[in-house]
Amino acid sequence: MRASLLTSTAAAMFALSFAAGGASAASKWDGADDLPTSPLACDASAAAAPAAAKPYDGGQPTNPPDKAGKEITLVDVPKLIGIGYFNATSKGMQDAAKELGNVKVTTDGPTEAKIDEQIKFIDNYITRGVDGVLFAANDPVAIAPVLKKALSKGIHVVGYDANSTPDAREWFVNQAEFNGIGKGMMDSMAKEIGEDGSFAIVTSTFTTPNQARWIAEMQAYAEKCHPKMKWLETVEAQEDNNLSFNQATTLINKYGDKLKGLFGMTSVATPASAEAVTKAGQCGKIAVVGLATPNAMKPYLKTDCVKSVVLWNPIDLGYAATYVMRAVVDGKLKPGATSVEAGKLGKLNVVNGSEILLGPPFIYTKANIDKFDF
């Protein structure tokens, strides 16, 4: 009697799981978002024609106190603290604060990339009373209510690295155009594994805004310019070192010879994937292309396991975000502006309505990696 009950329950569970699996019908890559993509041209004429200027679409604070020229306190709440990438953006902010002289920035955030925790951090700082919030969102929609609350209390909000919905912040400092990253990554991979190679992707989570955008752009660009390359799978690694390593190793074991390349979409996933490839003895046979900080990738570039690393300079990103915030508070950057002065970075352009572009992505190779230390 009990045995048949057990088997029927087990059967029901299996059926449920299969049903759930079968419920998927997505034909696009895992980890991509649903927003429209704009892939660049396939050849080197990568300078995409500047799109017609979009009107400003950011949010505005309600009755912010006038602190033009006065000292302001800012809080920086990145996706998580304790990883090299956000240590670098934080350093950039401290550099900018020192140069400006009238800005104080504290970096505080959760130790895991969880949106719920990030919301609570921002909420606490709103209660404490800060003049401005800098953020890198774990989820673009979920973070919007708390950012709007900050705006309603007269607190300035500027994002960097990972955007929120446009009306929840005043400006967003974008490190590189999404389609530029998509093109850079796919072209690097195609160069290493050939036009009909197959690859897999290790990302943070399927809903993290910037990774989702990059993957969507990569897919659009691949369909346009490298249609024969095969995408195998995307796995999540939550910005966790161990998990990234395990996931990459699982991919290597699962696909064996079929896997020719691994994409690392976060500064944690790429070195972990390179380590997995090294440990599996597949250096040279499996290409690793990704976004990462130079220090983490130095050992792999030296052993030629990884040929190139795509990134921008996160120190510059934090630096620019602080300058943008200062310009906003001083009233020098108003809705409708087309550029902003950012200290040693010079003039940065406004694109897409309320985004400020840092510049083109930077490719780190064995030749230039030693010049950087973050």
């Binding site: 449920l16 998927s24 719920d116 951090f121 909420d123 209660t127 929609v141 979920a142 209510p145 809903t207």
Partner: protein
């Protein structure tokens, strides 16, 4: 008559020596101390705001108290939250249910998930710890599979009232929580159902031989736990305006910490809703108060851990004195 009898030493009344009272006193002291350090902490606005953050954990903590009193445990609540959140969004977006029906469907899925837990625990006699660890993975996997990791957004405005709106200045979800706290407290204290929970926790075999419907009671509490997780999912989605399949990760630990901090014995047989409420409030306000005072990031977790250990020590020393 000697003065000795007249001058009998004053004995502390029994209610003072209870775990919940000691906890309440510690809570008040902590609040006053934190309030002294930071003038934004003890404002009505801040405290009501924290009420929003308490609600999701609080809703689940109520049936969790019941479950732990019976000597069981439910580790799958976080995963059920994720599953219900996904079901809410998915049934609305993809199946095309009208939103109110999608909400009811999500609650139904939660109750069903809890029912499956309870059914297998009572009929097949799998220990609750093992069963709910298994369903933790199963339900999280279902959430991931069904949603294909896409989040659902763009809900109509009325939907956000529960998570972000206020009634006479009090956050809407806090009102919901308070009502359910009262219901749960009355059920535990004043009904035969509540009595049965204590009996099962104290000695399940004796309870069975006393003709108590042990299996039915257990089935009910696990189903309630799933239902409460569904309710928490609804509040959460309403608060953050989106569904994500990783919602609710780690909730089980927060919930159990609140329940145990409140004096419910993990071995079963004792515990009150009142204690759970104090435990909840204490954890959230400690975290908030410390953060406002400038304690950085996750150092607050260290304090919560210390508070939990102290609570267990107090509880066990009180227990020993009672024996």
């Amino acid at each position: 008559m000697s003065a000795a009898i007249a001058a009998e030493a004053w004995r502390a009344p029994r209610w003072l020596k209870r775990h919940e009272t000691l906890l309440a006193i510690i809570l008040v002291i902590a609040l006053i101390a934190l309030g002294a350090f930071n003038d934004r902490f003890l404002t009505v606005e801040n405290l009501l705001d924290q009420g929003r953050f308490i609600t999701e954990t609080g809703l689940i903590a109520l049936p969790m108290t019941f479950i732990i009193i019976t000597g069981g445990i439910d580790l799958s609540v976080g995963a059920i939250v994720g599953l219900c959140a996904v079901m809410l969004g998915y049934s609305w977006k993809t199946f095309g249910f009208p939103l109110p029906l999608a909400i009811v469907f999500a609650l139904f899925v939660g109750a069903l998930a809890g029912f499956v837990n309870g059914f297998i625990i009572t009929r097949v006699r799998v220990p609750p710890l093992i069963m709910t660890i298994a369903t933790l993975a199963l339900y999280r996997g279902l959430a991931e599979g069904v949603s294909q990791a896409h989040s659902v957004r763009g809900y109509p405005d009325w939907f956000y009232f529960l998570g972000q709106g206020s009634v006479f200045g009090v956050p809407a979800q806090l009102l919901l929580l308070v009502v359910l706290i009262v219901v749960a407290g009355v059920a535990l204290d004043r009904t035969t159902f509540g009595r049965a929970l204590y009996a099962i926790g104290a000695n399940e075999t004796a309870a069975r031989f006393s003709a108590l419907p042990v299996d039915r009671v257990k089935l009910i509490v696990y189903t309630l736990s799933g239902l409460a997780s569904g309710l928490a999912a609804w509040v959460l989605v309403s608060r953050v305006t989106t569904t994500r399949m990783d919602m609710g990760t780690g909730y089980e630990l927060d919930v159990i910490a609140a329940v145990v901090l409140g004096g419910t014995s993990i071995f079963g047989g004792s515990g009150t809703i009142w204690g759970t409420v104090i435990g909840l409030v204490m954890i959230q306000l400690l975290k908030n108060g410390l953060a406002l005072t400038g304690v950085k990031g996750d150092a607050t977790i260290v304090v919560i851990g210390v508070a939990l250990i102290l609570s267990v020590l107090i509880a066990s020393s009180l227990q020993r004195r009672r024996d």
